[in-house]
Symmetry: C2
Subunit: 224 residues, 2 copies
DNA sequence: GGAATGGATGTTGTATACAACGATGGATAT
DNA sequence: ATATCCATCGTTGTATACAACATCCATTCC
């Protein structure tokens, strides 16, 4: 890796990306020396990045032994989904009590099923946009604590969530769901908006549960 | 400070305690050198502790400038309380769907209004027990993600929460509330348990909003 | 043969020196 | 008097050396 402005921050971001995209295998071990040689820096900024990742729950540092990438655990993933369901419902409730109609209209238009702003292809950009929709929606709640927790959940379920696009049909459904939820909110139909959101999230959760984790664990790690 | 097994972990814990109890004033600046001299260690373990505290939101590290203790902000505190209300309701729902009757009975007995296990005096131990009750309750939900978020919330609202005991009466009410919530859950009366919990939490939130923050900001910082 | 021992190696934990950058204040020019 | 520049100092960021401990494996002892 070229040493173009590599610092603790960029190392942190790179490692986090590698971990959440499973470029390093869950359960595998990485050492500070390995990473520092990979990025061509000293151990100091690497340590900072690794320690932060440990606090955020992406890996586990065992004293004098090494850093072990956290295993995926379907029970925990489901726990995240359950909490997400509750918090996103809260988001909708707060939005319906506030007055952010213009922002809601904009968000709604972004996902208009006839405009297909993000295309129909299953690209990384589309998946990122799907994730961003939920974050932007939460920001309309006006509760930043809520936003931060939902961001954290997004980080933790990213991989399995991105497997929730098996075909183009699922993409169309996403446009429909997002658009409809916004419209229901605009028409102050909170309860149905919540129901739609729950279905929307449960769909993603179901595919997560059906995914064979073998395709994840089969990948080769970057640091091997 | 004597150098008896002072390491990054203990520095982290000490600093966190100081910050959440306002032994260091919000908004004030501390430097790595200050802290390292205070604990009589090098900057290295201090940096680890400070960086962790930054990730957890207790302070803000400005490059080449210093670490600034995060200010208390009543809006954010209220945001935490609002999310807490939602998540503790979820806890009750999950408990009512599970089967942890024995643990519930134990917890209930701990707070029996006629036994007064934790006394009537407004001590630190009592306040810690109040906090522990909610954590232990959440653990009965079986959802560890939920437990972690509630722990985080506890950390963030600790100070204002602990001001929610103005007199002995409030202590008695705490026994009543805790006991009643457990009993309602045991009798599968979920909705009323949730209502009681909401009242219980709102009481704490109200006192938080009425507290004059001056008594917090008036304290003298340890590192000055 | 099996268990205990001891050394070699690898890893994180800590101390320290230096680098990079921001802030401050005084000197100087206009 | 005011604005600009420059040097100094303080602070965090990084590199590196060393310390402490865990693990592994060969050797030794019974």
């Amino acid at each position: 890796m070229k040493n173009a402005k590599v610092n603790a921050q960029t190392i942190y971001e790179s490692l986090k990306e590698m971990i959440t995209c499973f470029d390093v295998r869950p359960g595998s071990r990485i050492t500070e020396t390995q990473v520092s040689e990979y990025f061509d820096v000293s151990r100091t900024p690497v340590r900072a990045a690794l320690q932060r990742l440990e606090v955020e729950g992406f890996l586990n540092i065992r004293p004098k032994q090494g850093c072990f990438i956290r295993n995926i655990d379907l029970v925990t993933i489901n726990n995240y989904y359950d909490v997400r369901l509750e918090l996103e419902s809260m988001v909708l409730r707060l939005i319906s009590e506030g007055k952010n109609d213009q922002e809601l209209i904009d968000l709604s238009n972004d996902w208009h099923p006839e405009q297909l702003n993000y295309g129909l292809e299953i690209t990384d950009a589309l998946k990122a946009a799907e994730e961003a929709f939920h974050v932007e929606l939460s920001e309309l709640s006006g509760n930043n604590v809520l936003v931060n927790y939902l961001r954290d959940i997004s980080d933790k379920i990213r991989v399995v969530r991105r497997m929730g696009f098996p075909d183009e049909n699922s993409v169309l459904f996403t446009y429909d769901d997002h658009y409809r939820i916004c419209q229901l909110l605009l028409h102050k139909d909170l309860q149905q908006a919540i129901d739609e959101m729950k279905n929307h999230i449960r769909k993603s959760q179901d595919t997560a549960n059906n995914v064979s984790l073998k395709q994840i664990y089969g990948k080769k790690s970057v640091f091997e």
